[in-house]
Amino acid sequence: MTWSLNEIEGLSRKAARGAGLSWGLAEEAGKATRWLCAAGLPGAEALAGLLRQNDGADYATLCPLEETGTWAASGGVLCPLISGAAICDQAKDIAEGKALELGETSFPVLLLPYVAAAAQNSDTAFCIDWPGVSVTFGTETRVTMGKPDALERDRTTAVRITAARNTGGAPLDHQTRGDIAPEIAQVLTEFAHRTYAPDTAQSRLSGVGAGLSDND
């Protein structure tokens, strides 16, 4: 079934919140998933996989620490949503030629929207690579695939983001709706459902909602 991009953003935001991310990071997750679906990439699949993998994980274990010049997570594997938001804030350094290296990272495709935003904000072409794929964000976004499944990987060993220009590759198409498989939508809907409060007797008595009279 296809979804409007607005629906995808809303569902993804609620799902990320339901999985335990802060509201601000959940907002980023919604925007990132929307960006990927609009580019025809498997954003909803990656988000569903990431939320399932990190369900209940402590934020501190997923957050990037820089001790050796390379970002790494104390829990071993970086969360692309947390790292992505931080990448945007490093855009100036990257644009000035300082490459950013990330260690082991989950669902690296979720980094793409953040790097795109960082490139746009600094008005510079950025390139992101991990084994099997290279994506360049310039006047258009171009993808060079070394391995066919590189964008669907649930984990990669290393990611590099530079201002280097890579003009090859196929440009991405722009989609106006996103195609999400029912089983993926189901996963996101279940996470989103955690943000809904069960009815209470008090809420009914205090006059919230339309109650039984819902006919205007």
Partner: protein, 173 residues
């Protein structure tokens, strides 16, 4: 943006919230949440119902005051470093940065006070959206009608398109 800039921005936009005593129960008596039964937005009682875990981020004043408490004493540097350490404040930083450019983007009052009435905020929204007919069934009613009595496009050139938002007077032609 630097931490000191965010601190100044918070004082500028949320100064009113920094003066509220958030430890007072009346200051945080209500919770905005989404109901499982109807997926509709609702306002509940924080201290009478088990709904706080479902709270929506619709209390910018309290959240800005919480952020300000953590900003105080945080070493200066990029806001990115503050947010890596405090991801729970990210949504307020976004609101503050938006309100810095677009002053009407923010609600500058306590949206979770015991005295809050959604009607007050709806009245403000009415003026933005052109909604007019408003028939609340309770003081928590959130439903409005939009564009009642508004002219259709083909009527705009010939009719009076200025006063349609006002209710018709009884007995007036």
């Amino acid at each position: 943006m630097q931490v000191r800039d965010l601190r100044a921005l918070t004082q500028d936009i949320y100064g009113w919230a920094l003066e509220i005593d958030w430890a007072e129960r009346d200051a945080t008596a209500r919770v905005w949440y989404t109901s499982e039964a109807k997926l509709e937005p609702r306002l509940g009682e924080r201290y009478a119902e088990p709904i706080e875990p479902y709270e929506q981020p619709l209390c910018p004043g309290r959240d800005a005051a919480r952020m300000y408490a953590d900003l105080t004493g945080f070493p200066d540097g990029p806001v990115a470093g503050f947010l890596l350490r405090h991801p729970e404040h990210r949504h307020v930083v976004r609101r503050a940065q938006i309100a810095a450019r677009l002053p009407y983007a923010e609600i500058r009052d306590n949206t979770i006070a015991a005295s809050v009435l959604p009607i007050d905020m709806l009245r403000a929204k009415l003026s933005f959206f052109g909604a007019c007919h408003f028939d609340p069934r309770s003081d928590r009613w959130l439903r409005i009608n939009m564009f009642q009595h508004a002219p259709f496009p083909d009527e705009l050139a010939t009719g009076n398109a200025d006063d349609w938002t006002y209710p018709y007077l009884e007995g007036h032609a």
